[in-house]
Assembly symmetry: C2
């Protein structure tokens, strides 16, 4: 009985710390109901998402698609007559995939084509590709224990699956993604000629899931690619039967000079001179519509501001929807935004990011002081009415992260994560996989949070 | 402050009423973690669902598909070596659709084909179909106010949409479905020659969503069909421009004599002589794979029993997975099961149903005494770890409903409902729309609930 009793007392303490009056609760619950009702009955985000994903399409930093996405989202915010819509210059990395990659499992005379995609940031293979014997590992430790003798001249195959038992699939991703991010350099340090990585998804499917990788300074530069999870299973099985199995892959990707691009910003003006941001990232991987990653976060952010405007809300602080460029392979948009805010002495009270897909919202991750967390949690009952129960720890988001330097409270929308990695960084991340209602609930949740923060502050 | 304080006290009271020891919490949380881990890493339900939906396919009561589904699920439970696998005879209604329906909006000389499906239980039109002027209504009250003068000889078009602002889409369904269930007879009482109903979905799509209807005793029998929501929007718009717009539809469905069919039951034997049931319904509409409705509930129920068996759990009570036949258009399986349990004096402690789709589980609806609810809620913390927060009121489920006569505690799994009516009773209810992880979480939640009820009872 001790634990439950303490739980009860903690709850009481938490509530009394930030007294939240019953009259406020009634006013706020009515207004938040209007936000959700408007989102679900007259929402605009779904059609915007269709246009962004199907008409604009893929939009990797530096690409023509990214430029179109800047123009498109600016036009949406202008059409919604936000008070101030503008672009912010950002220099971004400009990596291009080149010709479609090829890969084969070579088992004696049998050659099997497998789905493959260069990792973002990787170099090309030499023309004609590379071929080599394969060393399969599940961890960097296993790789190092094998040592240079066994690895030299080979292609290292990183095959640690995402842990399916993690309820939060982002935890499973965090537990596996170092293979993609650093695998090539870890392998190259031991003399490997290339790296092949199992795609980061808990599904068994035929899509290569790409994503960014980095070369460690001092390590030899070798090409790296992702193969589908079904191909990874096949390769592993083939290797068990025949350790002399080889892999061949060819890719012609390259990194061009940095390119000019933009964040896109729209405002609903307040009087305090301070700012609250909602945002998502505008760029997507080059072969993905980026419907969940992160078209959803972009259109939800515009929608959150639009909903408050449509309901006639007069904000205390200036509310900004920010389309960040270059989250996928550089974060230059997020960094530029925070630097620019600092230079312009723009005080940011809070920033809310949506970059976990357009799924049913379940909570917000909070990065802030204990007092700020307690304030947010004092609104728990308002959100619980919409199935949003998790107001607790958890990352705010990559793009708003740089605002932490000015002490901004960071919040990340937490949608249900079960399907996110089915589509993540793959060509399957399409508009059709987004549920209109789920998308709209996320935008409404962001609007509700922005409203409460704007009304009550976070100090 | 009054309300929050009371909330805290209620919580404390609730907890102390059913003292739940910390040592039990630790044991149970470890075992429940094993249930979820096993479900997510070695789950079998997804492959069973693939076979049931793609290999067996549609399975309306009385059809060949339904007979195959009986054989298939029996074979699955036998292969899993449940202690006792058997069929229970059930006589079911046998309605058949016949040839594919046709419908057209006739606006002067312009004829537009629209997606249409007879409602389950409807009669056919005369050969060649029926054609008539259209009366559009949003409610039965509106219909009655128009009166026989305006309705006679016409086709009544029921066009009240499901309310998109309801967070729980089942509430929106409940608020609109009388049009489908009783619309034809309400229209016929005023002399209408047929009824056309807007499909029960919040989406705008091109699928007719069918479902059952009933003829009121004494009312003339007229044919009834559902048209897609896009077609309903078009018809409404066309009628506004031209009130003389006609609709034509033809269908050749008929109700055959009742047919023999079966519930399918598998057991994990306990010693108490009492029973706990988990179940879903085996039948689906004739043109749907019935992946969410209710293939998911079937395979989750078998999986829930299998998980406990796989983990070596020795139940106190006999745990039964029940595949109910004929939920869609008669409920004969549920009624037969309860009658049979009564005849055999089988005491059922609790029954858990899954018939709201294979989506992420968010809670259980409880139909029982206050003491039973309190007992279930004393386990809240165990479920909260899996995002399952809603242990409260809400229907148990249609098939287990008849067990209420013997005082059985009824629980209905509550998954996220946002996408359910996108697919409900339409040909879009396919295997591909089910997420493996979401399906598995639901089965694990049912296993966990069954385990706790079996261990602690509900009195």
């Amino acid at each position: 009985m001790k634990k439950p009793l303490m739980l009860g007392l903690t709850l009481l303490t938490g509530l009394s710390q930030h007294a939240y009056a019953q009259s406020d609760y009634q006013t706020d619950s009515i207004f938040i109901r209007k936000i959700f009702n408007t989102a679900l009955s007259e929402g605009k985000s779904y059609e915007w998402l269709r246009q962004l994903t199907q008409d604009v399409g893929p939009r990797l930093s530096g690409s023509e698609g990214a430029a179109k996405a800047v123009v498109y989202t600016k036009s949406v915010m202008e059409a919604e007559q936000l008070d101030n819509v503008f672009q912010q210059n950002v220099m971004v990395p400009h990596w291009v995939r080149g010709a479609k990659e090829k890969a084969q499992i070579i088992n004696g005379k049998q050659k099997t084509d497998i789905p493959v995609a260069a990792l973002g940031g990787s170099v090309a293979t030499p023309k004609g590709g590379i071929k080599g014997n394969v060393i399969e590992v599940k961890s960097f430790q296993e790789l190092r224990e094998l040592g240079a003798d066994k690895v030299k001249g080979k292609i290292v195959f990183f095959n640690r699956p995402m842990d399916p038992t993690k309820l939060n699939t982002f935890e499973a991703y965090a537990g596996a993604v170092e293979q993609r991010g650093s695998g090539a350099s870890e392998a190259a340090k031991l003399g490997a000629i290339g790296a092949i990585v199992r795609s980061m998804t808990t599904r068994l499917d035929d899509f290569p899931h790409t994503g960014s990788m980095r070369y460690a300074s001092g390590a030899p530069i070798v090409p790296a690619a992702a193969i589908s999870t079904n191909a990874a299973e096949l390769l592993s099985k083939t290797l068990k039967a025949n350790p002399q199995t080889q892999i061949y892959f060819e890719q012609s990707c390259e990194t061009l000079p940095d390119a000019p691009s933009h964040n896109v910003i729209g405002e609903l003006k307040g009087k305090s001179g301070k700012y609250i941001v909602v945002g998502g990232h505008l760029d997507s991987w080059d072969f993905a519509q980026g419907a969940h990653d992160d078209g959803s976060g972009c259109v939800q952010s515009i929608e959150a501001v639009r909903l408050l405007k449509a309901l006639g809300y007069q904000p205390n602080n200036t509310l900004r929807a920010v389309m960040f460029m270059n989250e996928e392979n550089g974060l230059k948009g997020g960094i530029t935004y925070a630097d620019s805010a600092k230079s312009a002495k723009e005080v940011h009270i809070a920033a809310i990011e949506s970059d976990r897909g357009g799924f049913t919202p379940l909570g917000f991750g909070i990065v802030g002081t204990a007092a700020q967390k307690s304030r947010i949690q004092s609104w728990q009952k308002l959100f619980a009415a919409y199935g949003i129960h998790e107001l607790g720890p958890g990352g705010g988001g990559a793009d708003i992260g740089p605002l932490a330097q000015q002490g901004t409270l960071l919040l990340g929308l937490i949608p249900d994560s079960q399907r996110y990695f089915d589509y993540h960084h793959a060509s399957s991340d399409k508009f059709e996989t987004v549920s209109k209602r789920e998308l709209e609930l996320g935008g409404a949740a962001m609007a509700a949070m922005m409203y409460l923060i704007d009304k009550y502050g976070v100090e």
